[in-house]
Symmetry: C2
Subunit: 229 residues, 2 copies
């Protein structure tokens, strides 16, 4: 037994950061899970996460987790909830500050972590360790809410994308269907996109390629707040 050398006058919980990492494969929303190598819940899938270091804040911890699993140093990352049910970890009291991250699948390299990691369809996630099912469900809900206020969808697409891809993404996140032609017009009218060039894909006809235009977004943000999708 190792020495317990950090002592306090009152009991202190352990604090971890977990990170729900979302990706988009062109059709479905994906989430990155890791297989647990140790008990409790050995062999179960879980969200990547780990203990918070004493010299970093929670967001730095989440960014660290993200980089270990995906190799990405920067990505959209957002704290959405802290989970504090007393017995959510059988070992000791653990409080988890949860984040979700949005990454471009094309930019993801395999993590340098020894743990097995895998992308799952958001609609086909197995039963998870701890209360991670709940954490994942809340992350999905928060993502759906947040997309009304910020154009965070662009974080999940390649730098250049077609309107069709953008539509599929929004349909996947919001769980609705849009009329292709109305969606097109709405995007044009918002003036958030810059057309760049033709595409040379497998499609019958090469659609236009667009980029998200952050400058335009910053202009709009101060005028009317709401982004309707």
């Amino acid at each position: 037994m190792e020495e317990k050398k950090y002592c306090y006058r009152y009991p202190h919980p352990a604090v971890t950061t977990d990170c729900v990492i979302f990706g988009f494969d062109g059709t479905n929303l994906k989430v990155l899970l890791v297989e647990r190598g140790i008990d409790p819940y050995k062999g179960k899938w879980a969200l990547p996460g780990g203990f918070l270091r004493m010299d970093e804040d929670a967001e730095q911890g989440a960014v660290r987790e993200l980089q270990e699993e995906t190799g990405l140093k920067t990505a959209y990352i957002k704290q959405f909830h802290t989970f504090s049910t007393p017995d959510r970890d059988p070992r000791e009291r653990v409080i988890t500050i949860a984040y979700y991250a949005l990454v471009r699948l094309q930019e993801v390299k395999g993590g340098d972590d020894a743990a097995r990691a895998e992308w799952f369809d958001l609609t086909a996630v197995p039963a998870l360790a701890f209360d991670h099912d709940l954490i994942l469900r809340m992350a999905s809900n928060e993502l759906r809410k947040q997309i009304h206020f910020e154009p965070i969808g662009f974080e999940l697409l390649p730098k250049q994308f077609t309107i069709k891809q953008l539509q599929l993404l929004y349909e996947a996140i919001l769980g609705v269907k849009f009329d292709r032609r109305n969606f097109y017009k709405k995007m044009q009218h918002l003036e958030l996109l810059t057309q760049v060039e033709r595409n040379g894909e497998d499609s019958r006809r090469q659609p236009f390629l667009f980029e998200f235009n952050p400058e335009k977004y910053n202009e709009l943000k101060h005028k009317s707040f709401m982004l309707e999708f």
Copy 2:
């Protein structure tokens, strides 16, 4: 010096819950602050809060704080962010899970806490202890966002209220002005309100009194999600 009898193999931060308690006086949004009786920041105003007990989750802790300060056992309460900058408390590392609560000022009794508590206009809050300025600002922003998704404004008004009061509240939260007559029609059209009876106030003409109708709200919630205000 007291004995430090709670020991761990790794360092653990202390965890507190702070509660931003909002009220509405008919014209302005108010927030409840307490004067600190001890160092650090002795004499400064701060958000009510305290250490999390090991047998309660964070929300129970926030509810406990709320009751100590206002006497209210139930109110709308919502977690909105966790603050974890390493040096935000000079004594030791403290992580704060922050909530905001919406209460009816008429129902608030003086707290049984010894600390001096006072309601401040949200637009005239003094410099606060710790990073509580930041916490308060984020709480206001989250309240403004949340009101697009839930009719939480009703939590701040008396059970029975006039449309005028409701409009003033929404204007205070969102920081905009509405046309009186259009606001009226929108409220009628939403069908979230039940008209109850005439009022006998000091006004020139007695306006209608309304109640929020939770059943109607639950019906609507499952159809279209967005509440436009």
